[in-house]
């Protein structure tokens, strides 16, 4: 919104501050001036003042015009605000005033009408033309310009009809179902009974509070006009404006609450401007007032204000004096309130008709703070006797994040939504995904049931930009349930692609699987648990998630609950997302992990006696997994065997010492006692038992 400083000064001539100071002072009181532009001087060398580019919050519709801002300036500087001059020239009383009937009193609270005869429709001149030029406001012709000028001057919408096109008096009524009206913008609208219209006895001539009608608009041929200024119910105008997709200056004001008492003033100001080019007034102003509407607006009951409440909410001022009662009275009076003492340091405050945003004591207190200037209040710190309480999951989440970062994964944040197709593939429970009602786009139609669509999108984003080494994780919320009830759970996704080195246990092509397994073991290791194992299922079991490649994936089960699925992305997904290299992803179901407490480390005494290592080299059929080997050794229950690890595994081949379908396993066991140095005989006995167990499992000792 654009404002002219010279126009403000017309209403508050005694402002001493220059335009920049005025702009700053208004901004600090919440009437924000975003830009100040010098308008230079006119032909006579007289300054045109400045143009203010305003940004006024939606609650202050009363200040979205020159007079409203002038009132703020008068309040800030404690100088007088001149009243609007709405005096009309002498006129003869008319014997038959224009009939006005409000048939929908709950929707229209006030309607004023005045008839002007013999007007001259032509170009505007004088102050109107000059200010329109400075504001770059398009001139139409004087009658229309007059309504626009009054709108900018004091913020009340008005309308002028060609009187000779009206058939009978004015009726303000609900539209009839299916009733049609052609509006000033040339469009034809079909109305409903929820719409309010201004009509004559025959037809609707305007969509009330939004836009006038085409058929009765002023043209250069118009000689007699009817000027309307009214007050309409905010909710009605808002609904109508939305229904018809018509947002106008008038609807903006009416739906936020116009000034009930402004209607007759605005009407007079418009008439006065039109009469400057000729014509005369016919009869008194017709002013129909619905008392119930007046009671809700202009005649609201006074509210009480205690000065002690001002201090209780606002606290200390920088000068240490607080805000005395006299100052409270001064500020609120300047804003248009009428204060009557109602006891010790308390007032009954009658509210101004233009400030429908003020309804309660706290609203008055805000006004006091605002006019005083926020920055004149002290900076104090409140005393506090409470304690800081950690959320149950705060420590767990922080531990996981710290561990993941240390493992070399970087954190990422992806979209909360995914496509319906993705939801089908990735939802841990099929059919439990939740659809959005107004999705951002087609690809975001569902609330994500899993973090994996986002993770795969980010992996592809990197690969498609030739970033080949990627390690990412995301911690976020996943959604399940139905549109009736949405459940939210915390989840963690992992993504890895690119360089990873093979070891003596597995080849390079499997390295990322073990990197991810290691990460999951590390994460699970942070929690107390009775058991953790990894398993997998056959492709045709129906138990494998569709996004994983059979044979190259696993799930982690902790204390009987599936806490993670991870592995190589299925070839179907890889193809669909055009992934040119193997990508591994995993999802950890944090709501299950979080059921466990964080593990409390317990120190145990270190043995003072030497540890003895023994290596065993066996050939096993490939059907035997490491897990079976480890279990066989653990079943021996040798108290002194403190560890057993695979050291080297290599596959056999036809014609080689290790035959095809078999692998060679080099196993290292470490023996140590807490009580004594182990003797050679003891070592031999334990080694023999190890070898026996391995043979029982189908192993063959390598020569």
């Amino acid at each position: 919104m654009k404002i002219l400083s010279q126009w403000i000064r017309e209403y508050v001539p005694s402002i001493a501050a220059d335009d920049r100071q005025l702009a700053d002072d208004l901004t600090l009181r919440g009437i924000a001036v975003d830009g100040v532009f010098d308008l230079g001087a006119d032909a006579d060398g007289k300054s045109n003042g400045s143009l203010f580019e305003m940004d006024i919050t939606t609650n202050r519709v009363d200040a979205m015009n020159h007079y409203g801002i002038a009132r703020e300036a008068a309040t800030i500087y404690n100088v007088p605000l001149l009243p609007l001059d709405a005096a009309l020239p002498e006129f003869a009383k008319s014997s038959k005033p224009c009939p006005v009937r409000i048939e929908a009193p709950e929707l229209c609270g006030r309607f004023t009408a005045r008839v002007l005869r013999g007007v001259h429709v032509g170009a505007s001149s004088g102050v109107v033309a000059e200010r329109f030029r400075l504001l770059e406001q398009k001139q139409i012709f004087n009658t229309v310009d007059a309504t626009n000028f009054v709108w900018m001057a004091m913020g009340h919408p008005t309308h002028a009809f060609d009187l000779d096109k009206l058939e009978g008096g004015i009726v303000v009524r609900r539209a009839r179902k299916g009733e049609k009206i052609k509006l000033l913008d040339g469009t034809e609208r079909t109305l409903e009974p929820d719409d309010l219209v201004v009509a004559d006895e025959v037809k609707a001539v305007g969509l009330a509070g939004i836009m006038g009608g085409w058929d009765t608009m002023i043209t250069p041929a118009t000689r007699n006009v009817l000027v309307e200024a009214a007050w309409f119910d905010p909710a009605t105008i808002r609904r109508s404006s939305r229904r018809h997709g018509l947002h106008t200056d008038a609807s903006h004001r009416f739906e936020r609450g116009a000034d009930f008492n402004a209607a007759p003033v605005a009407n007079a100001l418009v008439c006065k401007l039109i009469l400057e080019s000729g014509g005369s007034v016919e009869g008194e102003l017709v002013d129909v007032v619905i008392p119930e509407a007046a009671a809700r607006t202009a005649d609201r009951t006074a509210i009480s204000l205690a000065v002690s409440e001002v201090a209780r909410h606002l606290g200390a001022t920088e000068d240490g004096k607080g805000i005395p009662a006299a100052t409270v009275v001064q500020y609120l009076t300047a804003l248009g309130c009428d204060l009557k003492a109602s006891g010790e340091q308390a007032y009954a405050v009658k509210l101004p008709s233009w400030r429908l945003d003020i309804e309660r004591e706290i609203d008055l207190i805000e006004e006091v703070a605002r006019v005083h200037g926020y920055n004149k209040f002290a900076n104090t710190l409140p005393a506090f006797a409470g304690t800081v309480v950690d959320l149950p999951q705060e420590q767990k989440e922080a531990t996981l994040r710290r561990t993941l970062l240390a493992l070399g994964l970087s954190e990422a944040v992806s979209s909360t939504f995914c496509s319906a197709a993705e939801a089908d593939v990735f939802a841990p429970q099929p059919g439990s995904s939740v659809a959005m009602g107004n999705p951002l786009n087609e690809e975001a139609g569902m609330l994500r049931p899993s973090l994996l669509p986002g993770m795969l999108t980010m992996m592809a984003h990197n690969l498609h930009r030739d970033v080949q080494d990627v390690r990412l994780f995301e911690m976020g919320t996943v959604f399940s349930g139905s549109t009736e009830r949405v459940d939210e759970n915390p989840a963690l996704s992992l993504g890895a692609t690119g360089a990873a080195e093979g070891t003596s246990l597995y080849p390079e092509k499997d390295a990322l699987f073990f990197e991810m397994k290691g990460a999951i073991e590390e994460l699970c290791g942070k929690f107390s648990r009775r058991s953790l194992y990894f398993d997998t299922f056959a492709a045709d079991s129906g138990l494998l998630p569709a996004w994983l490649q059979p044979g190259r994936c696993a799930r982690a089960v902790m204390d009987g609950a599936t806490v993670a699925w991870f592995g190589q992305v299925s070839s179907a997904q890889a193809q669909q997302r055009k992934l040119k290299q193997a990508v591994y992803v995993g999802e950890v179901y944090l709501h299950r992990l979080y059921k466990q407490a964080l593990r409390q480390p317990i120190s145990r005494e270190l043995s003072r006696f030497p540890a003895v290592e023994r290596d065993f080299s066996f050939i096993f059929p490939n059907a035997i997994s490491w897990q079976q080997v480890a279990a066989a050794l653990d079943n021996l229950a040798l108290a002194e065997m403190v560890s057993r690890e695979p050291r080297e595994i290599f596959p056999g081949a036809a014609g080689k010492p290790v035959p095809e379908g078999h692998s060679s396993l080099l196993l290292r066991a470490v023996f140590q006692s807490q009580e004594r140095t182990l003797r050679e005989e003891e070592m031999q006995a334990m080694s023999a038992r190890v070898m026996e167990a391995l043979r029982d499992l189908g192993g063959q000792l390598r020569a």
């Binding site: 409140p382 409470g386 959320l391």
Partner: protein, 368 residues
């Protein structure tokens, strides 16, 4: 060394001085190259840097003393630069020597780049969010969280956004499908701000309350360089008896100083939020120029950073239905909220908000 190795200065103008020092440097470099042995290097050092008879001492005494006053400053400056060059060159020669000739067979080429294990990178948004939260935790605030899918009641109604109120227009909402049949207050939507957690917390906990609420929020906004339909907020709430507007000012002033540095100043402007009254926007003095005005603060010296205000009594009224302790006649409080993306973008100079959600390793690696 003999005096004749010190050339005579013909003139003291810039050209002559540049030429004279250039020749000295050339001479030194040639001698340095020829001084292969440790002994040779030691004699080079004594020859040039020796305290009594070193050439620099002589140059200093001959050139500087005879120079006219007008040239002394320029000459002295060039002399000091030259002296520093010689000292550094000789020091390097010596260090190369200690690792060089006579180098053991298993010596390591210590100039090769170091090996580093890959360490994961904190996401700049999460890092910023955690830093903000830490500031408020140190001021006695506990962390609060709430659901990302909210009901209309918690997101709007309880926060004094009445149905059909124009204030709802400013927060374009993403809604869950199939809500039309439900009563307005039960309809599910993506929370448009973290403020519902204020209500949820107060319903659970009688005053006093001090919470800081980090979280993800959504609005149906078109994405561009500075807007994203997904973003993060940190919200705060403090409720007790006798909490005042000046406490709000002091708290945020202190927090901004803790976060951005003690020289940062704050200023408060009236604003409008349905759930606070009075409401304020807070600006901090520009962290780049200190308030003098620069491109980053659009030459205003100030940067708008957060919104805040005193909790509206109507909000306490909504909470009172479940927690009678929130009697607006007896208690008061303040709330504040800030956009994490905006702060992270400013702090790290990120120009496109979309990069935060791309998972692009090249972007993330900048924050290592």
């Amino acid at each position: 060394m003999a005096n004749e190795t010190i050339p005579r200065l013909e003139s003291y103008d810039d050209v002559a001085l540049t030429k004279a020092f250039g020749e000295l440097k050339l001479q030194f470099n040639q001698e340095a190259m020829l001084s292969g042995s440790p002994e040779g290097r030691e004699s080079l050092r004594v020859d040039w840097l020796g305290r009594k008879q070193g050439r620099l001492t002589q140059i200093s005494s001959i050139w500087l003393k005879t120079a006219p006053d007008s040239a002394k400053r320029s000459l002295g400056q060039r002399f000091n630069e030259f002296k520093a060059y010689i000292e550094q060159s000789i020091a390097q020669e010596l260090s190369v020597e200690s690792a060089g000739s006579g180098r053991p067979l298993d010596a390591i080429d210590i100039s090769l780049p170091g090996t580093r294990s890959r360490i994961g990178i904190e996401h700049p948004l999460i890092k910023t969010m955690n830093e903000i939260v830490a500031v408020f935790k140190s001021m006695g605030y506990s962390v609060g969280v709430g659901p990302e899918v909210e009901t209309d009641y918690y997101n709007f109604e309880s926060l004094n956004f009445p149905p059909n109120h124009p204030a709802r227009d400013t927060q374009d909402t993403l809604v869950v499908a199939g809500q039309e049949r439900k009563a307005l207050r039960d309809r599910l939507l993506m929370r448009t701000h973290t403020s519902p957690v204020q209500i949820r917390t107060m319903e659970q906990q009688a005053p006093p309350v001090r919470i800081v609420i980090p979280g993800k929020v959504h609005r149906n906004d078109a994405a561009d360089a500075t807007h994203s339909p997904i973003f993060h907020q940190v919200e705060g709430l403090c409720v007790d008896t006798n909490i005042t507007f000046s406490d709000l000012k002091g708290t945020l002033d202190h927090a901004m100083k803790a976060f951005f540095g003690s020289s940062v100043k704050t200023r408060f402007f009236p604003s409008f939020f349905p759930f606070t009254e009075p409401s304020a926007d807070v600006q901090i003095s520009c962290i780049f120029c200190g308030g003098k005005g620069c491109r980053k603060c659009k030459h205003s010296g100030w940067i708008e950073l957060l919104g805040c205000g005193m909790v509206d009594p109507a909000v306490f009224g909504a909470v009172q239905q479940k927690q009678p302790g929130y009697d607006p006649k007896k208690i008061s409080g303040f709330a504040f909220g800030m956009g994490v993306e905006r702060i992270a973008m400013m702090k790290y100079g990120v120009s496109d908000i979309g990069q935060f959600y791309s998972g692009d390793m090249r972007f993330l690696e900048q924050f290592a």
